[in-house]
Symmetry: C2
Subunit: 129 residues, 2 copies
Amino acid sequence: MSTKTQHSKRQPGVRTKLFVADETIGVGKINLLAMVGEVGSISKAARQMNMSYRRAKFLLDSMQTGFESPLLHSQRGGTEQGGAQLTRLGEELIKRYKAHAVRVEEHSTEILAWMESVQALASVRKEDL
Amino acid sequence: MSTKTQHSKRQPGVRTKLFVADETIGVGKINLLAMVGEVGSISKAARQMNMSYRRAKFLLDSMQTGFESPLLHSQRGGTEQGGAQLTRLGEELIKRYKAHAVRVEEHSTEILAWMESVQALASVRKEDL
């Protein structure tokens, strides 16, 4: 936890969510999928992201329901917990989501500047109550 | 409920969420605020949107915490339930959010087309289980 200046404003922000089939895909699921790709296993990725294996598995499974083909391949077996690798589709999803998020961010400067000018100043006070 | 064609795909979609102070503002809250402005009362707006007055009031109050000045003015008193009117800030928020959502939509054609090409076809089947 970092110490906060009493009068600091948080910067207003913007996020983009995608809807595909019955699924919702936002930055949280994308970051998890990317972490799996990075560390090569669901359980390691879960640990890195401070969530349970169950939760990570649930999020990845629910993300998968939006797509016709697999986002990742798991290898089970051996004494180690099975590894997991992104498929080309999984990698493409991450790349495209990130590019899209950057584009949204680029087109958000106007509303973010306006929101900064009208936002509540007292967000820090709440935590002191 | 409308009948669905078995093989119909849902169109992939995109939504944009704003973060201001500790608050999150998405299309649901914006539509509620706009409805209050249209019908001139929180309770009527709640009814129109099929939610309880409590729920509507909670959403509006939580949206308000993001802003330094009021988004709407309520008039209480009389025999009728008090009316509510948007302030200039409330109106500007709606206008700016909608313009921003259109801009995001305009820059989403590429990822939406891609998602349509890779999405699961079976979203209808789920409901038949």
